[in-house]
Symmetry: C2
Subunit: 153 residues, 2 copies
Amino acid sequence: MSALGFPKTPSDKKALEEGAVFSPRFDPAGLVTVVVTDAEDGMLLMVAHMNAQALALTLETGIAHYWSRSRNALWKKGETSGNFQHVVEMRTDCDQDALWLRVKVLGHDATCHTGRRSCFYRTVGLVDGKGTLVDDGSKPLFDAEFTYRKPSS
Amino acid sequence: MSALGFPKTPSDKKALEEGAVFSPRFDPAGLVTVVVTDAEDGMLLMVAHMNAQALALTLETGIAHYWSRSRNALWKKGETSGNFQHVVEMRTDCDQDALWLRVKVLGHDATCHTGRRSCFYRTVGLVDGKGTLVDDGSKPLFDAEFTYRKPSS
């Protein structure tokens, strides 16, 4: 566990938006939204969430930790795949309910669980009045099926 | 109102992650998270949310519409400031619960309600064991106080 805590949201809007005190606004589930981009070329890699513990560990270790909403568990990104995220810079937005991590991805330089570099590999458009996705052709950088296989019982 | 609807999330994971049908996964509040970057230089401008209506209007008009969680209302970004967002490209992520808009900002080329170009104008770091924000010095591009003033009664 980390000892690092975060102060409550100030009631003064100016303090929240222009101040120097980091007081992240966690949602009712205790999470903030995190946008993750590549520090070198700015590519959007993923959108994830952090609770206070994941955020504290990220600040203290410089390695990105998240809260997995699907597994309901703390998630040190890269623990299985080796694709850890080294945090080059963290930013927050005007009302401190979102974070931006600029990272260097280790391992295969892949962030998506499908093996691709980015989770955003499909464009959205309207075709005959229906929302339609087009794959941008980006290829897996590692064998996700092998990496994330479950141990046989 | 828009007539455009969105199909339910497929139960098949492969269809969700690799398919061509756009089936955005709205959260229990009916929203998806939207990351907005500048189409030209990739700068992260803001994080916002869309409900189905805002998403449909965005796809149909090519101008970004959001759902304002603070005002509980549909929000055509730029309606007050003139800083509309023209959508150059929309993408979705592997499990279709987040969207990425690459936009050209009209008007003052400013996205933040403080008048700055981006909402992410402060870095986060640890100073003496406390989360501390440092302003990056980006200046307002329009007079937010004047633009968003309330009409006197």
